[in-house]
Amino acid sequence: MLAVDIGLRRGGFALEAAFTAGRGITVLAGHSGSGKSTIAGAVAGLVRPDSGRIAVDGRTLFDSAAGTDLPAAARRMGYVLQDSLLFPHLSVRGNLTYSRRRGPLTLDRVAAILGIGALLDRRPASLSGGERQRVAIGRALLSGPSMLIMDEPLASLDTPRRTELLPFIETLRDELALPILYITHQWSEIIRLADTVVLMDGGRVAAAGPLQTVLTDPDNAGLVPDGSVLEAVPTPDIVDGLCRFETPAGPLFLPRRELGRQRMLRLFVDAHDVAVALTPPEGVSVQNVLPCTISGLAVLDESHMELRLALAGNQVIRARITRHAGEILGLRPGMAVHALVKSVSFDRRMQWRGID
């Protein structure tokens, strides 16, 4: 587990951040200039904080009070940046085998996982952006890291390349059980990858926790997109082109397009696409009706309000409605209602469109 509690001041910028990152993918999110990359650099050992402490699995990397500052070479942190930063004068093989440290992985295994076996004798200049980034990931893996730091690894790639690289990152998490500190400002990546989100704002941690909690916490309004996520497992059950998905909140019927081979999907449910009904509606086109309880209610402005709806399985989704509708229905916290979600709205969201 990574534990960070650091302070740093550079000119007019002040960073004061404390968080922990456990198994899986911890996403450091936030606008540019919020201090995400500085934290990544501090963990990697390339940026020296003014004060505080950084530790991984109980091993102290930095401690200003004790005067500890482990050099980057001794930290065992795999560091992958937006520009893959391959050594241009070395072949792909030379890049991959640059580290003299030996981890549990062999060159063959890494090449197989990342699909770069055919590139070994090429020069970095002749690779595509996606290939270069895969080689950069492989180079970090072969240095036997205890953790992988990925600073906007997809930011300089076009959408098809991003889509191509995402499964590789999930493979690192699932098959190699490697903890990953992932930095991005793209909500599409956060929604797909994050186990834990640490939301940075102006050099401070604005929110931290599981993705769903961060998205549905009213305190984070304005920092997160207006919506929530549901984790859905596709089933082989297909009727009239709609596939039955199992979610903790109950089954959903969604178009199966563009799903790929994924075992589990995170569905982003836009708050604007959710309506509520007091009774199970009849004679409407909406196919997904989920019984739920109003757990929170907030007035946004003179005409809009937002509901937090508690579903089965401890799931929460957000619904944005007009205050007028809220008055007519007499909505109060604790009321049992039905959430209505149009299947076509999921269809749009399934393409993991960037939201910011």
């Binding site: 980057a72 795999g78 004068h89």
Partner: protein, 231 residues
């Protein structure tokens, strides 16, 4: 009839020897100075920078004189060298090499410094995260990527050495076979009545030499940049 007279051959070979020795011996110092100027911040850096660039801005005769009072037989360092090791450099080809090496130093440093500054420091950072020691980063990342600048610096320094006159004649004097390089030979010819014909031949020889060394450095630069950034 041979292409060159013994007088010309002697001056040409001496010039090549002096320039080669000057460039080869000063190169490690030039790389070190360039690296320090490109990558390190320390109090007195601008003074150090000025010191390195001094030969570029003061008259060569001044440099020659300064060398004479330090490394000459009665000079501060020269006297000690003579007493302790019996080494006398003044008025030998070594003196000519030192004089031209000092004069060429800032040019070599500038070329290498620019090249080091062009190396993305994040590449060095990544190398460190992969477990490389600072020395290994320097040897396997910084220096290989600086190679085009080193080649350019060496070419520039070599050309500067071939043309060195003022500091050499002051510190090493104009001794045939020992310190009379091509420019000094040319100067000698111009001072001999009826030496114009000989001077013209030396001018042509200098021009040919300059073009050949430029061509060679261009070829090397191309090979090196293919090696460094190549596909």
């Amino acid at each position: 009839m041979p292409l060159l007279t013994p007088f010309e051959t002697e001056a040409l070979l001496l010039s090549l020897k002096v320039a080669t020795a000057a460039v080869v011996c000063s190169l490690p110092f030039a790389v070190a100075a360039a690296w320090v100027l490109a990558r390190k911040e320390f109090p007195g850096k601008s003074a150090f920078n000025a010191l390195v660039h001094l030969p570029l801005v003061v008259p060569p005769v001044v440099i020659g004189y300064l060398l004479l009072v330090t490394l000459g037989r009665r000079g501060i360092v020269g006297a000690w060298l003579d007493e302790t090791f019996g080494i006398v450099v003044a008025f030998t080809w070594v003196a000519a090499a030192i004089a031209s090496g000092v004069m060429a130093f800032p040019l070599t440093v500038r070329a290498i410094r620019l090249s080091i500054e062009a190396v993305d420091t994040r590449l060095e950072g990544v190398a460190r995260t992969l477990g490389a020691s600072p020395l290994r980063v320097l040897a396997t990342v910084t220096l290989p990527l600086t190679l085009p600048g080193i080649v350019a610096g060496v070419a520039l320094g070599f050309a500067r050495c071939l043309g060195e006159f003022g500091a050499t004649i002051t510190f090493a004097s104009n001794i045939p076979g020992a310190t009379r390089t091509l420019p000094l030979a040319l100067y000698t010819s111009l001072n001999i009545p009826g030496g114009e014909a000989s001077a013209v031949r030396l001018v042509i020889l200098s021009l040919v030499l300059a073009f050949v060394s430029l061509g060679v450095s261009e070829l090397m630069a191309r090979r090196v940049s293919r090696l460094v950034g190549g596909c």
